[in-house]
């Protein structure tokens, strides 16, 4: 039996493998890593699993209901893991209805939107008339406020959109409005309860499990023995620097718990979440939030599965998250930073796992100045991108039984995902078009600094770059670029002058660089430490 867990999810997936062309690919990357899922949705899905109550069936102990973010149980001992999630449809309708794609608005939605507003109107009391307010104005202010937290899905209908996860009350699972079916059978229906069944909760189309895979990798990592972490740092991840504390999974679990609690509960006012709940429950007569479809466990999701071996990537991102959580920053900035980190992690999983599967060296990512006119450098960056795609493509080609599926599988579970996510945060540019190159945005630079150095920690620029190479395969200078050339089989050497100048300037302008001499600069995380 191969090492894929949780076992029940894996077996179910295996039993359906004839219909599931992704099955073999998932054995390398996890089930499933899907290109259509946006980065914010990956983060939201991950946070959704983290904060949910979990129903764990274990092989060794009694079944347990667990409220921990990361239960203390080895992944290989978990038979099945279900987590609960909410749809928060009333809050979504109230906040996002007016920015929903017109074509998908059903008469029942409009009718219920008015009902919600009217019910809310009954529960608002404006006590100070000196501010020229009335209930309608207050409702509009609230609607505008919550609409401002719209995270993803601008062109979707309101229920398919997600909020920015500024508090746990803003997290909701996937809901898809089956508009075509509803319009076919109930085109003029005004009663929301009659079109209830057209809200689909179990499709995994938007929340496609990439966040679950991330969760499982971290869960698996946090339950390894410290000696395994040390072995990893002396073996496959030699060169990656972890402090003594960071080598201890117990410490990482504690710090992750703290950081995630802060993110979900302490970084924005509690009452903002209370008001979100208030709106969501203002009409108790209509059942919309807890959708009950044909499946009894509609609000309980059976999590996906991962190859156990991928716990090592989980440990890397867990440490990186802990470092980010150590920085005192605003919730919106933190969400931004986590999105960047998740993309980097997903790219890393693709390249590292692929190279391991093929027994080849890890690919390198050549990052260059976005404004460079140097065609050699642009070529190198493009080649490094092509090389990453090639190595992923090789894995998928090898795993696809039917070669006619390779292209499609790549688009959905391989190279397509790599490219889409890298482009979504402008790590790979241009947004559209062919001549791709890796560059750094300021947001990405902040993320690299905070995921490498704790507040006030400093290292030489060389060491900083070395860590980025070990952790993500990133290279920035001639030496690294020539290594890229060797990997792709080119003998050419790059002798471009001052390839690092742009990065030095960027670090300097962001306040991270201290020049010590012509040749040595310090990179220092100047951020302020989060106090708990």
């Amino acid at each position: 039996m191969a090492d894929f867990y949780p076992e029940q999810s894996f077996k179910k997936s295996e039993s359906l493998k004839d219909n599931n062309k992704n099955f073999e690919i998932a054995k390398v990357f996890g089930s499933r890593v899907f290109s259509e899922q946006s980065v914010l949705e990956i983060l939201s899905e991950f946070l959704n699993v983290v904060k949910s109550d979990k129903d764990i069936k274990s092989k060794k102990s009694l079944d347990q209901k667990n409220t921990d973010f990361f239960p203390q149980i080895k992944l290989e001992d978990i038979d099945s893991l279900y987590y609960s999630d909410e749809s928060n449809l009333k809050l979504k309708l109230f906040s996002l209805y007016i920015c929903s794609a017109d074509s998908s608005i059903h008469p029942a939605h409009s009718a219920y939107y008015e009902i919600l507003r009217s019910k809310l109107n009954d529960k608002i009391d404006v006590t100070d008339n000196s501010k020229e307010l009335d209930n309608n104005k207050v409702i509009s202010i609230l609607e505008n406020l919550f609409m401002g937290f719209q995270g993803i899905g601008v062109n979707r209908d309101w229920c398919g959109q997600s909020f920015l996860p500024v508090r746990e009350e803003f997290l909701a699972g996937e809901t898809i409005w089956q508009g075509k079916k509803a319009n076919d059978y109930k085109p003029d229906e005004n009663d929301i309860s009659k079109v209830f069944k057209y809200f689909q909760r179990s499709g995994h189309n938007l929340y496609a499990r990439t966040g679950e895979v991330l969760y499982l990798e971290i869960l698996a990592a946090l339950n390894r023995d410290p000696s395994e972490i040390i072995d990893l740092l002396e073996g496959e991840f030699k060169g990656i620097y972890f402090s003594e504390e960071e080598k201890n999974p117990v410490y990482i679990r504690q710090e992750l718990d703290k950081g995630l609690t802060n993110l979900l509960n302490n970084k924005s006012p509690k009452v903002l979440g209370d008001i979100a709940n208030f709106i969501n429950t203002t009409d108790k007569d209509t059942r919309l939030n807890s959708l009950n479809t044909e499946n009894e466990k509609a609000n309980s999701i059976n999590i996906g599965w991962i190859p156990l071996n991928n716990w090592k990537y989980g440990y890397l991102i867990a440490v990186e998250m802990v470092r980010i959580f150590a920085v005192n920053m605003d919730v919106i900035e933190e969400i931004d930073m986590l999105e960047n980190l998740i993309v980097l992690h997903n790219l890393r999983r693709f390249t590292f796992a692929s190279s391991e599967y093929l027994g080849e060296k890890k690919p390198l990512i050549a990052i260059i100045d976005s404004d460079t006119k140097d065609t050699d450098l642009k070529e190198i960056s493009r080649h490094s991108y092509r090389y990453c795609l090639n190595i992923i493509n090789k894995v998928i080609t090898e795993l696809c039984e039917n070669q006619s599926d390779v292209r499609k599988m790549n688009a959905r579970y391989g190279t397509g995902a790599f490219t889409r996510w890298a482009k979504s945060i402008e790590f790979l540019v241009p947004k559209t078009g062919d001549y791709n190159k890796f560059v750094l945005t300021n947001g990405m630079l902040n993320c690299l600094i905070s995921s490498t150095l704790r507040p006030n920690q400093q290292v030489s620029l060389d060491t900083f770059l070395e860590q980025l190479k070990y952790r993500f395969g990133m290279v920035f200078d001639n030496k690294g670029f020539n290594e890229v050339n060797r990997r792709i089989g080119k003998k050419q050497n790059i002798f471009s002058e001052n390839t690092l100048d742009w990065l030095v300037k960027m670090l300097d302008e962001s306040g991270y660089l201290i020049k010590l001499s012509d040749y040595v600069s310090l990179v220092k995380n100047v951020s302020i430490e989060q106090k708990n």
């Binding site: 009391d125 006012p269 509690k270 605003d330 300021n442 030489s460 010590l516 100047v526």
Partner: protein, 599 residues
């Protein structure tokens, strides 16, 4: 060779990069020139410190800094003194020092000295307690060598040893001294990058312009030669002070120059790459106030050769003199008023008249630029004022900053104006809303901190994370502190909500408040932001500083009340153009249901 003006000019022209002969720019060759000893001042304090550390202290000294900072010159002088005339010729040299009855080993330029087993040699000398060791090298090479030898130096790994070295080199003491403390070894560090070399540069310039050679002229020399005019002007101390004010402004903006950079610039300012024998048709192109900025090819096309000079390149990037205050412009171009003309240093008055005559035409004109430069350097101190200096050097906070350098207090009016300016900028940034210029109303003295916004968040009202009283001298004040270079800098102090003290409390300490340090570039940024000018290259960094300050204020609220309190505060711009807040509170109604109360 006789030390004449002609020879001196020839020598100066070998110190800059415009003549194709800058052979004396390195310490090694310059050391042998007869003029070098006249102008290069001994850095006695540094020499004494090194000597003490080598023979009385821990015996191991690292002398480091940028290329051109004067490491080699300093080491040469020290060895010459200690050994009565020896000089440094090889990468590694041993000297017996009779005065102390000890062996001195000098290792120079590790990076250029790639002997295979260098790491071991350096480590061996480091571990040898019997010898005094002076390492003269740039920092990179030292780190590289010591990292490679981390095991011999008994450090657990490369990053650990690197951290210790970096700590020693990047010391934030007010002098340039630090210490690298390894398991068995203590190395005293003198990092010339941290050493304030502007006072030394001042002495060097003074020595150059006051050199007796200027009085020994060939009979054929033109008395009105631009070089001689330049010397005449630079002999005036206020002219040199204005030059150094420009350097200081650059320095505060993180443009640090080595002594080699300064000497190169001085040489070019004086000679303009001319020789005394040269006949010049358009002398004003070679006058020092133009040379400071490099020579012209045309107004918009800068001379490429003088752009090689580091300081000129940096000065050009700052666009000094292109943004003169309207008041001064009016005064300069008013034909009936001769006050400015009369206050220009007399030998340069004809050039003033020429530039003014030819600068009247509309649009940008090269003579206008020259005229403003001439005024900056050559108008008498009695006629110069802060408005001109601030605008010429593109630094609205410069005059206030200079005031505190001389330990003068700001006047009450200056203090209030500065405070109001800063409050306005900070208030707008923290609230995420644009405010009218002269804000009035009940919330004038309140600062709201709202959630950060990304480009895709658009809300007419913002969630307030904290609100803070912002009244001058009660909860907030502008203060002066000494930075690590010992220079006075402004900072803004806000008493923590968790502290019950006031600024006047006897036991008030810095721990009772949160501070926003305001070094000159940041101060200028905040003052500029208030006038709508946010186009600064360091925008990212400054934003980040404000964010840090904001986050710290939020983190220091009483008992994290924000996150637990029962009401939600929103802030919005009201129709009367002032900030207003709205309170949302969930309360229990009569039938045990929640209702949302808004007030």
């Amino acid at each position: 060779m006789e030390k004449t003006a002609t020879e001196f000019v020839k020598y100066l022209n070998t110190l800059h990069r415009c003549g194709g002969n800058n052979k004396n720019s390195t310490a090694e060759s310059n050391h042998n020139q007869i003029f070098a000893h006249d102008i290069l001042g001994p850095e006695d304090d540094l020499k004494e410190k090194i000597e003490y550390d080598l023979f009385h202290g821990d015996g191991k000294v690292l002398l480091t800094g940028f290329a051109g900072d004067g490491k080699t010159t300093l080491a040469q002088m020290l060895v010459e003194e200690l050994t009565e005339g020896n000089s440094l010729n090889n990468p590694i040299e041993e000297f017996y020092i009779q005065k102390y009855n000890k062996t001195l080993v000098v290792i120079k330029d590790l990076s250029e000295n790639r002997i295979q087993d260098n790491d071991e040699i350096v480590t061996r000398y480091l571990l040898n307690k019997q010898v005094s060791l002076l390492i003269v090298s740039n920092t990179g090479a030292v780190i590289y060598r010591m990292k490679e030898a981390y095991k011999l130096l008994k450090e657990p790994n490369k990053i650990a040893i690197e951290n210790k070295i970096l700590d020693g080199i990047s010391t934030k003491n007010s002098d340039s001294y630090g210490t690298i403390s390894l398991e068995d070894i203590k190395i005293n560090v003198i990092n010339l990058v941290k050493h304030d070399n502007i006072p030394t540069a001042k002495v060097i310039l003074e020595k150059i312009v006051m050199h007796p050679a200027w009085d020994i002229l060939d009979p054929s020399t033109d008395q009105y030669h631009p070089i001689l005019l330049n010397i005449k002007a630079l002999k005036q101390s206020y002219v040199r002070d204005r030059l150094f004010l420009m350097y200081q402004r650059l320095f505060e903006y993180d443009n640090r120059f080595t002594l080699r950079n300064f000497i190169e610039h001085f040489s070019y300012i004086i000679t303009g790459n001319l020789k005394l024998e040269d006949k010049v048709n358009n002398p004003d192109d070679y006058l020092f106030y133009n040379n400071v900025f490099g020579s012209f090819e045309s107004f918009d096309k800068k001379d490429i050769i003088s752009n090689n000079i580091t300081i000129i390149r940096n000065i050009r990037n700052q666009y000094f003199g292109t943004n003169i205050s309207p008041t001064w412009k009016r005064a300069v171009w008013n034909k009936t008023d001769n006050t400015i003309y009369e206050n220009i240093f007399e030998p340069f008055q004809p050039y003033f008249s020429y530039c003014r005559e030819n600068g009247y035409s509309n649009g940008q004109n090269i003579n206008r630029i020259k005229l403003y430069r001439l005024i900056y350097f050559l108008i008498s101190p009695s006629c110069m004022n802060d408005v001109f200096l601030n605008s010429f050097l593109n630094s609205p906070g410069l005059s206030l900053w200079r005031k505190i350098q001389n330990n003068n207090n700001l006047t009450n009016t200056e203090n209030i104006a500065l405070f109001n300016n800063l409050r306005h900028t900070i208030k707008e940034y923290f609230a995420g809303l644009k405010l009218p210029a002269n804000e009035t109303g009940e919330n004038k003295d309140k600062v709201y901190v709202t959630m950060s916004r990304r480009k895709n968040i658009r809300q007419s009202a913002q969630v307030v994370l904290g609100q803070f009283s912002w009244v001058n001298d009660t909860k907030v004040k502008i203060d002066v502190y000494k930075d690590f270079r010992g220079r006075n800098q402004f900072r803004l102090l806000r008493i923590k909500e968790t502290s019950n003290k006031s600024f006047k409390s006897a036991d008030f300490t810095n721990d009772d408040c949160i501070s926003l340090l305001l070094p000159l570039p940041f101060l200028d940024f905040l003052l500029n932001a208030n006038s709508g000018n946010l186009l600064d290259q360091n925008y990212q960094y400054f934003q980040k500083r404000l964010d840090f300050f904001k986050n710290e204020m939020i983190a220091n609220q009483i008992d994290k009340e924000l996150y637990e309190r029962s009401n939600l505060l929103l802030v919005r711009l009201k129709p009367d153009r002032n900030l207003g807040d709205l309170n949302f509170e969930l309360v229990d109604s009569n039938n045990n249901e929640k209702i949302l109360e808004v007030h």
